[in-house]
Symmetry: none
Subunit: 205 residues, 4 copies
């Protein structure tokens, strides 16, 4: 009864209607996972909220975990869209401070707008290996692009990768404060300035 070693056929939607339905599942799941959490959302609820039957969910996805993976991919792709504009042009020492500012702003915005989603998915990435891998890939790609921009902008290349990793972490931390912490709003510019100076200091060396 266990169907070991046998693969269940999962529909790969090609027609517009099928694609729309799969997106509907992802969008609904994204909303539910964000608001209630992955573990507290059941498949029946996903189906009901998406306006479909439980059965059909399983013709698009092998199991609940696969839905989660798609939801996280969807979330990450929305992050990619947000950050993309910051990753295309070369960075010069003169333009760096402004880049850092924009990074901080977008990072904070993104975390604020999707606060619950952000928390949920970052948490899941710590609990589930394959989710972690998705975030790792995203981070690696952003960092690689930043390295590239910096190289083209004639920044010192010694230990560049490590520097960028650390700076990326600093920006995440700083924007994290903006969002999660109960810091007085008036203090946020201070934090941003500190982060900016730190980043400029690290990369400029």
């Amino acid at each position: 009864m266990k169907n070991i070693g046998e693969h269940k056929a999962v529909r790969v939607p090609k027609q517009a209607r099928s694609i729309a339905k799969k997106q509907k599942i992802v969008a609904t799941s994204y909303r539910l996972f964000s608001s209630k959490g992955y573990y507290r959302t059941n498949t029946a609820e996903i189906a009901k909220e998406a306006g479909i039957s439980t059965g059909i969910v399983y013709s698009y996805y092998q199991d609940k975990k696969q839905i989660l993976l798609d939801v996280v991919k969807y979330y990450i792709s929305s992050l990619e869209k947000r950050f993309e504009p910051l990753l295309v042009s070369p960075v010069t020492p003169r333009s760096l401070p402004s880049l850092v500012r924009r990074f901080l702003k977008i990072s904070a915005e993104s975390q604020t707008e999707n606060r619950e989603a952000h928390n949920e998915f970052v948490a899941l990435s710590l609990l589930e290996e394959d989710i972690h891998a998705l975030f790792d890939d995203f981070e690696d790609s952003v960092i690689a692009k930043l390295c590239d921009s910096l190289k083209r902008g004639a920044f010192p290349q010694e230990n560049l990768l490590e520097k960028v990793r650390l700076c990326y972490g600093i920006i995440e931390q700083a924007s994290h404060f903006s969002v999660q912490r109960k810091i007085a709003k008036s203090e946020l510019p201070v934090m941003d300035s500190l982060a900016e100076e730190a980043v400029v200091g690290i990369l400029g060396k």
Copy 2:
């Protein structure tokens, strides 16, 4: 299922034997939550591993969540013990670099030794408000103590709290790399040096 507004009598253990039993529950749960995860550990298993009955667990704890809270408190208190030595003496500009190094070292050690616990509890702190509050309190207290040490060591006091918060975050990030990332081991000293310089730079201003 949650009996909101209705209080169940939960024993507050005062006798040595009772206290020992409660500690046994916490220690066992800590081990199981670390290795299998909170959601994948059931109460029957906790009781069995602790050598007690399932029923008795519920005379010490209202529900599973309360056990988790105690486990996290236990984890945090172990963190406190680790970091305490770093938080007692004043910090001078001369001793700062060494403090940062020790912080990085202990932070990395702690994350490595309890890697699974660390991931699990950080994840849960993102998923559950009350767990989050516990970590927040811990962080606030560490940061407050650091501020104090720095004040006594005659560091510039302007925006000190924000500076320390950011530095704390930088150190967490840097030690995080040591542990989670697949960075080449040879690169770790580089990361540590960068973090040290950044912290010294921020606090020295």
Copy 3:
């Protein structure tokens, strides 16, 4: 679910294409039922393997059970073809031993070649009344023909039907050993000889 008393229109195929399609369903189901078992084969799989849609299956068959009935009929008709040559000519006391041998051989062959099908359908005949009836009819017809052959070959007619039934059972048993049992291959001729002697003894009286 069974819509008792309500008739659904089921196509009775008359055009060549329709007949071919129905045969395709039966042949595919036969293969799947044999290898995976009836309960473990679902209609979607039958349709897919047969190269048709799931919907069309239900225009040829009222439900899954009806497919099974057709598959069993198909299996039985293949048995009929195998045994037919043994059932046409009169049997004399002299030719009886050779007939028994041929029976044993064909019976064993048939069980071996379709071992999985054999087991599956015999099992289902014990579980489902209507399948049982199909096998009963087949057996009755074989036995009737054997009686006829024996009558024409001047065997004693007293209790002939019972005798033949028993002999038929003996042959089934003996060939069953050849196939299912882990008897040493060297012992199989012994079993066949014993069966042969028993049959000759019974019928000759």
Copy 4:
């Protein structure tokens, strides 16, 4: 989520009450499997009919299949009890016919009284390897004991095992007719006589 490689603790009941409950599950399942069939009986029904909750079933049995195995063991042990008296004393050529008669009688009785159970479990033994193994063991043990009785009764020992196997099969067939077949009741003694003669003939050689 799949708990691969982890064994679930299944209670091994030692106290009287626990044993009674496990027997209750087996007895209820035996009844339901016999009347409705294994595949058509669900665990909720077993629990309900046994007057217990669904959950507790799974603290006695790992899964539904394990219940079936116990039910079949229970059935086989009832067969053993029935046949035991026939397997203890030596058989002489003089006592053989009476032994065969008693065998036929008990075999027919057993199949009649538990007709549905018999069909169901024999069918399942064809569908499931591990059920098959249980029946094989039973059959082997009966046949071994019969061989022993015959040896002690000075029967010719050449090919004794094969002879006994075939005779055992003949008796099964003959009693099968009594039960399943729509033979006229008046014809049953004929069948029994034929079987008796055949067995005596085979073993006497």
